[in-house]
């Protein structure tokens, strides 16, 4: 098989599964639907591993070819084309392997749901879209993939379309993402207009250096660097997709979707598309310190302030969601300090451990009979041993325990920030260090509340109508005589399989990915202007050495402190958090209301645009145009006709005369200026 067919097969196998399950799911039944979609994704996954192996062993060559010409206009081809290099190969493996795990998991999680086939069709369609996004060799296909994953995300957040919260959340997600896409599309427009009239990555990157000094006047009289404006606009797209402040508001609400997709789309893959995009565009971003500083500030705000919100959540999925936001912020910070490879490295480790944590949370939710409130949990360790152990491993990876995967990637980010000389790196450095404590605290708050301590579901008074429940999960929460139970093997197997990379992948991958040749010629860094990675390389000796050294550094002790404080607060002295809540009531209120951003956005954008629309409609259309202009002239005609009625003689010749006079009059009036002149 030649490479082109291989790559086509990787992308199209999930699509085929999706189409079969989606259009013919009613005919082939549930079992066939999951078999065919899992088969499609499995084919992709196996081939992706083969591709990655090729790049790791150095045998594979970069593939960059058009596949299909979508549109030709004005001498420019808009094509579908594949660029497969080591970055793509890594993304392929991450996407397909997490997707495969999620597919298998879904058999257990959704097995009572009447929309079973539809769900499998959607997640396979998502996999296809995401693969097209990461394999693209040009901006137009990138945008296609970008919007397609957004579509599937919309469909899946609203999967339980009877729930008012779900269909509110999916509309919100789509619209907030559209705000990002708005910037993204304008960025693509600038690329097409100024970078040599091509949307092909390689052509654009080749044209970029010559444009270093070029300025454009967006506001007349003010010169802005073209590269900076382009990079910032493209980054607005990333802010939407990767949920960066202030476009992050859709991600927590997206938890209304079924948990498997929270793991796949809203943690491991889709939300990292923005990170991937910026890393892919490193040759452009390296040319603009302004853009990098901006990215750094946005990432830092997201990393720290979204972490704070994780502390006050009571819904198990929302804790993981805010943790995802915070970790996406870390990745963005890494991009900002030109440590693209570190960002992508964290993207990879995070994909595994966060998918694990989400799927673990899903398993807990199943064990609790669809109760998501952590206040009703506790002591689940006994009843769900596999879920407990794998979740613990995931949490340890997340907080950056030495030798776990998250440690290598997160510690590298912190070091990279400290090595950076950008003006914003001071703030970023503060944010990521404090973030370590915050992460450890909320993670282990969740861990202790769920798996240890008192078995609170016994006395929990969760009413059966506490959540907007519906037909398919009619049993909300445990009944009086129920006990939590471990999930079936289709659920626990993916947990185990994800736990393995969550633990070891960092140790194995850090050397080739950050300091080896893996990303050579793929990620571009201007080492003279941004020598961060060189300084890191100087410090780095081996993965094992880095792990040992960690015990002497602040992040480790901060993480440990976070765990200990969480243990003390929620295991030892549960009255303290309540006390703190009371003492710092305003702060608590601010956090519980998510800094009131939802309310502000709703008041300003949703209500504002509706008010403006109503104004234009009632005042502009109805009062001014219709009232004054249209009906006014109709009335005028009416008044006129009352007079002219007398002229109606009933004789053809008199009408004809009138008509001719009229036409002549009109011609005269209309062309009078010409004649007079």
């Amino acid at each position: 098989m030649d490479m082109k067919s291989l790559y086509l097969l990787i992308a199209l196998a999930p699509l085929a599964g999706s189409i079969i399950a989606g259009l013919f799911g009613w005919a082939i039944g549930r079992r066939a639907a999951h078999v065919v979609t899992i088969l499609g994704v499995a084919v992709s996954a196996v081939l992706s591993f083969r591709v990655l192996y090729g790049f790791m062993s150095g045998q594979a060559e970069v593939f960059n070819e058009p596949v299909y010409t979508w549109l030709t206009v004005g001498g420019i081809d808009y094509s579908v084309g594949f660029l497969v290099d080591s970055l793509t190969a890594m993304m392929l493996v991450v996407v397909t392997s997490v997707s495969l795990m999620v597919h298998i998991y879904t058999i257990g999680y959704m097995h009572e749901d009447p929309g079973y086939q539809r769900f499998f069709s959607y997640i396979s369609l998502f996999t296809f879209s995401m693969l097209m996004l990461v394999m693209s060799n040009n901006f137009i296909q990138l945008f296609f993939g970008w919007e397609a994953v957004g579509l599937v995300s919309y469909l899946l957040i609203g999967f339980w379309f009877k729930r008012p919260t779900a269909i509110y959340a999916n509309l919100k997600a789509f619209l907030v993402n559209r705000v990002g896409d708005f910037g993204f599309l304008l960025g693509i427009g600038l690329v097409m207009a100024y970078f040599g009239g091509s949307l092909d990555y390689q052509a654009v990157f080749a044209a970029a250096p010559a444009l270093a000094g070029k300025t454009i006047q967006i506001i007349p009289g003010v010169d802005w660097s073209l590269i900076t404006v382009t990079c910032l606009l493209l980054f607005v797209g990333a802010m939407g997709k990767s949920a960066q402040f202030p476009l992050h508001v859709w991600l927590p609400d997206s938890m209304e979707g079924p948990t498997p997709i929270s793991a796949l789309i809203h943690a491991a893959t889709m939300v990292t598309a923005g990170i991937f995009m910026v890393a892919r565009m490193s040759p452009l971003y390296e040319m603009s310190d302004v853009a990098l500083n901006f990215i750094l500030v946005i990432g830092s705000i997201t990393a720290l302030f979204m972490g704070f919100l994780g502390i006050v959540q009571t819904d198990i999925k929302r804790v993981v969601a805010y943790s995802t936001l915070s970790q996406l912020g870390y990745m963005t910070v890494a991009l900002g300090v030109s440590a693209y490879s570190v960002a992508v490295f964290h993207l990879m480790t995070h994909a595994f451990f966060k998918a694990l944590l989400f799927l673990g949370a899903g398993s807990v939710i199943m064990g609790m009979h669809h109760d998501q409130d952590m206040r009703n949990m506790g002591g689940l360790r006994k009843y769900m041993p596999i879920t407990w152990l794998t979740s613990l491993l995931g949490s340890l990876a997340l907080i950056g325990t030495p030798f776990f995967s998250g440690f290598y990637s997160k510690d590298s980010i912190i070091e990279a920030v400290q090595a950076s000389h950008l003006p914003a790196s001071g703030f970023a450095s503060f944010a990521v260090i404090v973030g370590v404590f915050v992460t450890a605290f909320y993670s282990f708050r969740m861990y202790f509340l769920v798996f240890h301590g008192k078995e609170r579901w016994m006395e929990a008074k969760h009413g059966h109508d506490a959540h907007g429940h519906d037909d398919h999960d009619h049993h909300h929460g445990l009944g009086p005589n129920d006990k939590p139970h471990e999930s079936p093997w289709v659920v626990t197997l993916p947990l185990i399989l994800l736990a393995i990379p969550s633990v070891v992948i960092g140790y194995l991958a850090i050397e080739p990915m950050l300091y080896g040749d893996f990303f050579k010629n793929v990620i571009f860094v201007n080492h003279e202007a941004h020598p961060v990675m060189e300084e890191l390389a100087h410090e780095f000796h081996s993965a094992a050495g880095m792990g040992m050294h960690a015990f002497t550094t602040a992040p480790f002790w901060l993480a440990l402190a976070g765990v200990v404080v969480a243990w003390f607060f929620y295991m030892k002295a549960p009255h303290i958090p309540a006390k703190i809540k009371q003492t710092f009531a305003p702060v608590n209120r601010l956090l519980e209301n998510k800094y009131y951003l939802d309310e502000i956005y709703y008041a300003v954008f949703a209500k504002g645009s509706r008010a403006l629309g109503t104004f234009f409609w009632k005042i502009g259309d109805m009062l001014l145009i219709d009232g004054l202009f249209v009906n006014g002239s109709a009335k005028l005609v009416g008044a006129f006709s009352r007079v002219t009625r007398k002229l109606q003689t009933g004789f053809i010749y008199s009408y004809a005369t009138t008509m001719i006079i009229g036409v002549l009059a009109l011609v005269t009036i209309w062309f009078a200026p010409l004649i007079i002149r």
């Binding site: 979508w70 030709t72 379309f161 009877k162 269909i167 559209r178 600038l190 200026p673």
Partner: protein, 498 residues
Amino acid sequence: MFTNLLSLAIWTPIVAGLIVLLTGGDQRAPLARWLALAGALAGFVVSLPLFTSFDVLHGGMQFVEQRPWVEALGITYHLGVDGISMLFVVLNSFVTLMVVIAGWQVIEKRVAQYFAAFLIMSGLINGAFAALDAILFYMFFEGMLIPMYLIIGVWGGPRRVYASIKFFLYTLLGSLLMLVAFIYLYFQAGRTFDIQAFQALAKIPLNVQILLFIAFFLSFAVKVPMWPVHTWLPDAHVEAPTGGSMVLAAITLKIGAYGFLRFALPILPDAARYLAPAIIVLSLVAVVYIGLVALVQSDMKKLVAYSSISHMGFVTLGLFLFTGNNLNQVAVEGALVQMVSHGFVSAAMFMCIGVMYDRLHSRNIADYGGVANRMPIFAAFMMLFAMANSGLPGTSGFVGEFMVIMGAVQTNFWVAFFAATTLIFGAAYTLWMYKRVIFGDIANPHVAELSDVNKREFLILAVLAFTVLGMGLVPDLFTQKMHLSVNDLIAHVAQSKL
């Protein structure tokens, strides 16, 4: 090999319409239906070779027919299509077929007259797109209003009289001035009404061009419709039966835009350049202002009607984006793609609303909720069309908007900026409506009684879905037909007549 294809495309539906009329009263309604279907199908079949045998390697007018008509006044029966107008003849014949199927059981009174009106209108519209003689064009252009006027006035809703008079008043105003302009050009071009002769006029002073342009503008802007002469459209849509709305949105609006590119731009290039900024501003007002107005509509048909105006804003925008002396090719082709795409998407949206209206007799968003529970297949189709209306890549709705925005960036960043807001507004009004109507739990007992689409409805929705996706995934199929004609247009417009 086909010498009279255009005549066939024009007269087949008209003759079929007259035959349908002959069936008379409603006691022979089944016969009228089948005859109408046969006529519409025949009309579509004879228009197909226009698409398939169109020679993309040679520009210019094809399938030309010319016969003397009123020789004393230099009026000829002159037909021909280029890669632009050809698309609309085929689109129109296609939509007519859909409309006949859509009206199959829905129309119960005056069945023969209803179908006859659509068939005759279809022929007249084909005539307007194919005419190369200004008077011939004018007659078709005005003639097609009569069936539409009747469709709204006879089969329309409760306020049909107000709507049809408003429609009539609005469109009458501009048409007269256009006729005056034609007469002026007739004398300038040496006593001929040949449109190509108008285009070939070498010298027209700027102030004359501007006056003529305004005359054309008033006629065509009403049809598009452009802000602020758009308020007839929502009323007409609300009162029109489903089929009327489908043709109105899919085809009638396109004649306005077509008029700009056939008359105003090539005949009056300097006035077009001079007035382009004004047109661009009006187009952007349509995109933003109308987008916001669409957001607050409580009537589904009004919402889609406003969304049509907003989408047509992209068409006029794309047609008037100049870089120096030249029109922007990407933008012009984008405008054309948008016209065709909007034909599919708006027809589909109105069809969807019609399907629901036939069951519940309400267009009010508040009367719905949770339709997906009872009509899952319908909900899936409408999701696709809603996404196309929001300009999602992979659907036809994206292609034109994308091309116009790309073209706009080259002209002026802020034009692109305001145009691109449609990404947000378009998604907001469409998907918010979708959410309130389709999603959610079953809102009331009426919704609980809904039944999913029948075979006839499924057929129409499936065919439209196929076209929407097809054009989104293979837009080249359409754009390759128009390249040379657009180049001709650009070359024409680049040539100053001062």
